[in-house]
Symmetry: C2
Subunit: 135 residues, 2 copies
């Protein structure tokens, strides 16, 4: 009679929604746990730590595919961690690209907004900026 966690407890313990836990199971990220007599999922500590790993990775913006890879790699304890490094670096590059994109965007939006004198729509600089040049 080892104590186990219900799906609700596991979810609360990791800041996850119950549906999301089931979704991770269906996606093959979280192994299917045993069941109680009443067909309830019964989780152990390994599930808790695996789910925590998933959540942290997700919070850091890794995709589910990347998380899957990281989990697989994490299990091969004595291999080189180059592959892990590569995933992290790829993700970092992606994040940096997004930052650059958004920063350029911010500038454009900023420019658009400061030009808007908030008169009528007809001479709104925002609409103007969005409208195609008449050829």
């Amino acid at each position: 009679m080892t104590t186990h966690l219900t799906i609700g407890e596991l979810a609360r313990g990791t800041g996850t929604k119950v549906e999301t836990v089931r979704f991770y199971e269906k996606s093959g990220l979280l192994p299917a746990p045993g069941r109680t007599a009443g067909n309830y999922r019964a989780y152990g500590p390994s599930h808790l730590s695996r789910l925590s790993f998933i959540r942290r990775s997700r919070d850091l913006g890794f995709s589910l595919d990347q998380v899957r890879e990281l989990l697989d790699l994490a299990d091969e304890r004595d291999r080189s961690c180059e592959a892990i490094d590569a995933i992290a670096k790829a993700h970092l590059a992606e994040v940096e690209r997004k930052i650059a994109d958004l920063t350029a965007l911010r500038q454009e939006l900023d420019r658009m907004i400061t030009q808007c004198g908030c008169g009528t729509v007809a001479d709104c600089r925002i609409i103007d900026a969005l409208s195609p040049r008449v050829a």
Copy 2:
């Protein structure tokens, strides 16, 4: 016999995929054009400029809902453009929030990666950073 554009020409003219044009029509963003005898969509200049507006807005990161609003507002030429300003400002705020989030993320990823000495997985700092503290 006014010249008209086929969907492919319209798409090429605005840097859009054909399927996306049809998708915009189904979503109510682009009015359904007339048809030729052979049931081909026949677009005019108004479609071209409307689709350009949509693409520009999308490139600036506005959601389709926001684009819909902007399009509606843009047509009421003599109303005040406050509402437009509000949408743009809300979007700018959203972009700034994302930049802040991603910047924090980058820092964490950076820290993780520089700590990785790239030895074996067992002492990989990245996996370490992702793993839950053992209570």
